[in-house]
Symmetry: C2
Subunit: 332 residues, 2 copies
C-alpha cells in the first residue's frame, strides 16, 4: 500500500471565534437568526461586536476544528486556509500548530483582516454565528499545495467554501490531485442554509469529486428534499460513505446498503454545542483513516462530539486520544 | 454628602490573557517559576508562545478584572490603562466596555503592541503567568483623567504599576486628585515578588498616598517581614482598611483594631485560580463603596472569588449581582 505523509488534510475558512453568552431576548433584539450561521460584512461585524457582551477568543472554523480534533486523536493532519498577517491570524496559526497540525498556507499581507465569527451562546447551549469572512475570501487554487494534498489519505473540506468566490476552484483542483494520488475527498455540508445556497452544485459533487459526505439530519434532508430515511438510501447510493448526525439521537453511518445506527454518547451537562459536528467528523475520519469499521468510526465521532459540547469553544480540551482508546481497543 | 460620578476607578496594566493548559513537567521544562508572575521581553514572549499549547484569549490584567467585577455587581466604574490601537487592544477595550466599564485612555498609535500574559494553568488549578508589558510601559501622568479620578469614591491600583517606568508618577498624581476630592486610594500588593521588588516604596505609600490595602498572606508577611498575626496588627495601624486573603482559609478584614475573620465560600470544583484576588477586591470594594460593614465586604469578596475560580479566565461569567444579592439583603 502507498505511504501517505498525512492522514487527513482539512481545508476551510480560517476563523477566530468570538464567543459571548447571550439570552434569547438579546438574540432577537439584534435581529439574529438563532442557531444558524449568517455571513456578515465589515460594517455589521463592527455593529454586532459593539453590542456583544464581554467575549472570549478561541480559534475556530469548521475544518480547523476538525483538523485540531484529528491531531488530538494522534492523526497526521494539515490545514489549508487563509488568514492575514495580523494578531488574530497569529492566534489562529499558533493554535493549530500547537496542536500538531501542519499549517503552511501563506497569510495575506494586505487586504481584509483575519476572519472572525461572533457567536452568541444562549442558555440552551445553542450558538448563533455571525461570520465576517475577511481574509478567507482570498483563498484560491494557488493555495492548494500539491506536496501536501497529493500525499494524504483524505481531504476534508467545508461546504462553506462555496461562499467565497474562488475557493470552489481550489476544491476542484484538490480533488484532481487527491484522486490521482489514490486518496479520497470528504465534504461537510456545513449548514442547512449553506445547502440551500448551493444545493445543485453540492449534488453534482457527490460521487464525482466527493467520496464521503458529513451532514446533520436537517442538511441531508434539505439536500435531497425528502425525509431522513429516504435521504439515507439516496446518499448511500451516491457516495462511498456518509456520516449523518442527529444531535442527542446519535448518528447514522452509511456505506452503500450498509446502515449503522449509533446512539449518542452521554453528556452530563451540555454547555456549548459549537463544534459538535466538526469534532464528530474528526473522530469519524480518524477511525476511517486508521482502518476501523463503520460502527467504530461512528462511535469515535460520538465520543469526540460529546467532549466538545461539554465546554465553551470548539477545540478539544480533554485528551481525545485517551478518551478514544477504550473504543478503539474494544474494536481490535 | 458629595455626589461622585464613579464608585471605583481601577488603574492598572491593560493585558490580554493567553491561557493554556499545561502540566508540571512542561512548566519545569520551559524554565517557568510556577505560581508567580514573571515579566518577560518580546523575544521571550515569542519563544514561550511558540512552545505553548492551543490557547484561549481573554481580557485580563488585575485592575481590569476588578473593574469588570465591580461593574458586574452594579457599581459605577472606570478603568485607566494603556493598550495599542491593535486587534488585542480592541479586544481588551471591547470586553471592558461591554461589561459597562468606562474606558477612555487613548491607545498608543505607535510603539509596542498591547500587552499579553501567557498563562499556563496546571491541573492543580494554579496559574504561572509570563507577562509581556508591551504598550503598558507608556502609561504616565498624562493618562490620569482628572474628570474621572476627581469624581470617584475610590481609586484602586495595582502594585504591578511600580514595574513600568512612569506609572508610579501617574499614581502619585491620582492620589493628590482623589484625596483633594474627598475620595480614597486603595492598592493591591499584586504578587509576593512585586513586594520584594518595591517593598520600601510600598511601605512609604501606606497611610500617606494609600488608605486601603489588599494583599494575600504571602504578600503582607513579605511586606512586613513578620508572621501573619503580627502583619495584621501592623497593617491595621498603618492604613484605614486592609483586606487580607488566605485562599481556602478565607480572608481577614482589618480596620484599626477591629479584625473580622471570614471563611471562604464553598467551591464545588476549582478550575483556574486566575483572578481570585482581583475579584475578591471587586466584591470588597463594591461593599465598601455601597456603605456595607467590614464583614459584609469580606463576604462579598469571597462570593466573587468563588465564582471566578470555578471557570477558566478572570472575568465573571455568572451574574455577580444576583450571586451577591442574598449576602447584601441579609445585611440590611
Amino acid at each position: 500500500m502507498r505511504e501517505f505523509a498525512y492522514d487527513v488534510v482539512c481545508i476551510g475558512n480560517a476563523i477566530v471565534d468570538v464567543l459571548a453568552h447571550a439570552d434569547d431576548a438579546q438574540v432577537a433584539r439584534l435581529g439574529l437568526s438563532k442557531g444558524v450561521m449568517t455571513l456578515i460584512d465589515a460594517a455589521r461585524a463592527e455593529e454586532l461586536y459593539a453590542k456583544m457582551g464581554p467575549a472570549v477568543e478561541v480559534s475556530g472554523g469548521c475544518a480547523g476544528n476538525t483538523a485540531s480534533g484529528v491531531a488530538a486523536l494522534g492523526g497526521r493532519t494539515a490545514f489549508i486556509g487563509k488568514v492575514r498577517d495580523d494578531q488574530l491570524g497569529a492566534v489562529f496559526t499558533h493554535d493549530l500548530r500547537a496542536q500538531g497540525v501542519t499549517f503552511a498556507t501563506p497569510p495575506l499581507e494586505a487586504g481584509p483582516p483575519t476572519a472572525r465569527s461572533f457567536i452568541f451562546v444562549t442558555p440552551d447551549a445553542h450558538r448563533t454565528m455571525n461570520t465576517y469572512l475577511g481574509a478567507c475570501v482570498e483563498l484560491g487554487p494557488e493555495d492548494i499545495d500539491a506536496a501536501i494534498v497529493g500525499s494524504t489519505q483524505m481531504v476534508y473540506f467545508e461546504g462553506y467554501l462555496w461562499d467565497p468566490p474562488r475557493a470552489k476552484e481550489a476544491m476542484r483542483k484538490a480533488a484532481k490531485i487527491v484522486h490521482a494520488a489514490g486518496g479520497r475527498m470528504a465534504i461537510t455540508l456545513s449548514d442547512p442554509f449553506c445547502v440551500t445556497r448551493h444545493r445543485d452544485e453540492f449534488l453534482s459533487l457527490l460521487g464525482r469529486e466527493v467520496d464521503i459526505v458529513f451532514a446533520n439530519e436537517e442538511e441531508i434532508t434539505s439536500l435531497y428534499r425528502c425525509d431522513f430515511e429516504e435521504a439515507i438510501e439516496r446518499v448511500g447510493a451516491q457516495v462511498k460513505v456518509a456520516a449523518l448526525t442527529r444531535s442527542e439521537k446519535g448518528s447514522v453511518a452509511v456505506a452503500g446498503s450498509r446502515v449503522v445506527r449509533m446512539k449518542a454518547e452521554p453528556v452530563a451537562h451540555v454547555v456549548d454545542t459549537t463544534g459538535a459536528g466538526d469534532l464528530y467528523a474528526a473522530g469519524f475520519l480518524h477511525g476511517l483513516t486508521q482502518g476501523h469499521d463503520l460502527a467504530d468510526c461512528a462511535r469515535l465521532g460520538g465520543i469526540c462530539a460529546a467532549e466538545i459540547i461539554s465546554h465553551i469553544g470548539a477545540r478539544p480540551e480533554a485528551d481525545l486520544a485517551e478518551l478514544a482508546a477504550p473504543a478503539l481497543n474494544q474494536a481490535r
